[in-house]
Amino acid sequence: MNKPILLSRSNLILFIIFLALIAFPFVMDSRTLTILLTQILIFGILAMSYDILLGYTGIVSFGHAMFFGIGAYCTAIMLNDFESTIGVFLGSIVVGMIIAGILSFLVGLLTLRLKSHFFAMLTMAISGLLLVVAEKWRDVTKGNDGFTFKAPDVFKDRIVFYLVVLALLVIVFITLKRFVNSPLGRVLIAVRENEQRTKSLGFKTLYYKVIASIVAGVIASLAGSLYAVSLRFVNTSVLTMEITLDALLMTIIGGVGTLIGPLIGSVVIESAQHYLSGLARDFPIFERWIIFFGIIYILAVIFFPKGIAGTLQSKYYQWKAKKVQTTNVVPLSKNKESSE
């Protein structure tokens, strides 16, 4: 009989980590760490959305920041222009997701017919265009100077906001896990592995790639909304290439096509950024922390070519296969005896 999926070992580990994360702000009374962890969770959501594109469908997008930025601006503008209530906050998330969904549908439809590198270049161009629009449309966005806004009162307590973000991350994780394990998710993996072969099985691959693009865009918008509330400030930096590169690095370092990998990548990158830049107070060389960050990235790619989660996963499978082989081996002498 199959073991119920909810009781599997990996789910149990994830559940324990989830409980530890809930307990964290109550055990460690550190505002800085709570804020850092909130950032890690938000970028974890963004990186998971990028994994749907890169890891599960094989699409390299350099324009993912545009959806993140849309979410951030929708929430910031609505909380600034209307009352700062939970209702408006939730409404802004929905509006952001709808706009991001429509835009990712249009961008996907126009660009996903192209070969991968042309697609990547075009997404970068469209994202760049949106950044220019945001910088010039100062009446609404206040350009690069940005603007502050009031978050709903309930989020004044950083722990409450942290717990909300954690809950949303869990919901996104479970939803995406179900999505990639569904028949539709299998087709996405098939597209990544061999698009021509998938077409010759009767699948209109563009349709599936557009679906992946919409799912990724909508989730990235949610991450953007949460990011804006975490800072209570927004400017055009939410639309820059750096955001896309962060998501890309988190996914690659953590392990593409694993969903859990991008979360690990988010922990590594956000912590590295935080601690390396913090060291600059004592060691001036760390003012150029980006150099050390680059070294970490190079080392990660050399020692974990499949990403941290991917490498651990394949080591585990190797160990399991070895174990099965060892238990199946019958000593030659014993084999001989039994045949005699």
């Binding site: 028949p183 299998r186 592995e193 061999n194 021509q196 998938t198 077409k199 010759s200 209109k204």
Partner: protein
């Protein structure tokens, strides 16, 4: 007289600047195994790719079930009932055997379940390695999986490209037996270099040379014609 399922009429195909097919014509009849024969580089694989729409024809016409499919996209052609087993098998390496087959099945119905059972009886190895990743199968198992996947995809015509390539003789025999069995339920168009295999299972043949059809007829005719075998296949 048996009905034509597939008809190619003066098909021309360009890949980039190269004119690969320069007038291919032949018919595949319902319930037959038709074999495309010819030297390396003659245009056999391109012919299959042209039929399935991966390298669309630039001239001539391809008719399937009396419908012109020359300009149709690959997914439409596949959905009309043409299954394709490429030379490299095209297995989705990270998906398990089960997932590889279920992706192709699309919707589970009584008919597809019956087809799946049939194909698993034909290739018991697939049942044995049901949960194993496609990329970890042996060459022979990959070939079986590729054929099973194309077959469960509700195919009225199976295009199989060099199923014996790189396989051990004992595995080739299994593949041959499977093709003979599958023939009872579907029409097969086979590209094969191994003349022994082709002559055993083929009902008709089409000889392609330099991108052109040079001869078409019953397989028996070719078996008895040493001159033709020597001239176009370098055997006999």
């Amino acid at each position: 007289m048996m009905e034509n399922l597939l008809k190619l009429d003066n098909v021309n195909t360009h890949i980039g600047q190269y004119h690969i097919l320069q007038g291919v014509h032949f018919e595949a009849k319902v319930g037959e195994v038709s074999v495309l024969l010819g030297r390396n580089g003659a245009g056999k694989t391109t012919t299959l790719k042209t039929i399935i729409g991966l390298t669309p024809a630039t001239g001539g016409s391809v008719t399937f079930l009396n419908q012109d499919i020359t300009k149709k996209p690959t997914y439409d052609i596949a959905n009309l009932g043409i299954g394709y087993v490429p030379e490299d098998q095209g297995i989705f390496a990270q998906l398990s055997v089960e997932e590889n087959i279920k992706v192709a099945m699309k919707k589970e119905s009584e008919e597809s379940k019956e087809k799946l059972e049939y194909v698993l009886n034909l290739f018991p190895d697939l049942k044995k390695f049901w949960k194993k990743a496609g990329g970890n199968l042996s060459g022979g198992q990959k070939q079986m999986l590729a054929m099973a996947r194309a077959f469960v995809n509700d195919s009225k015509l199976l295009l199989i490209d060099e199923p014996s390539k790189g396989l051990a003789p004992i595995v080739i025999e299994k593949v041959m037996e499977a093709i003979v069995e599958m023939k009872k339920r579907t029409t097969i168009l086979l590209v094969e270099q191994n003349f022994f295999m082709a002559s055993k299972i083929g009902d008709s043949f089409t000889l392609i040379d330099d991108g052109k059809t040079v001869h078409q007829g019953a397989m028996k005719e070719l078996i008895d014609n040493d001159e033709m075998k020597h001239k176009y296949l370098g055997i006999g």
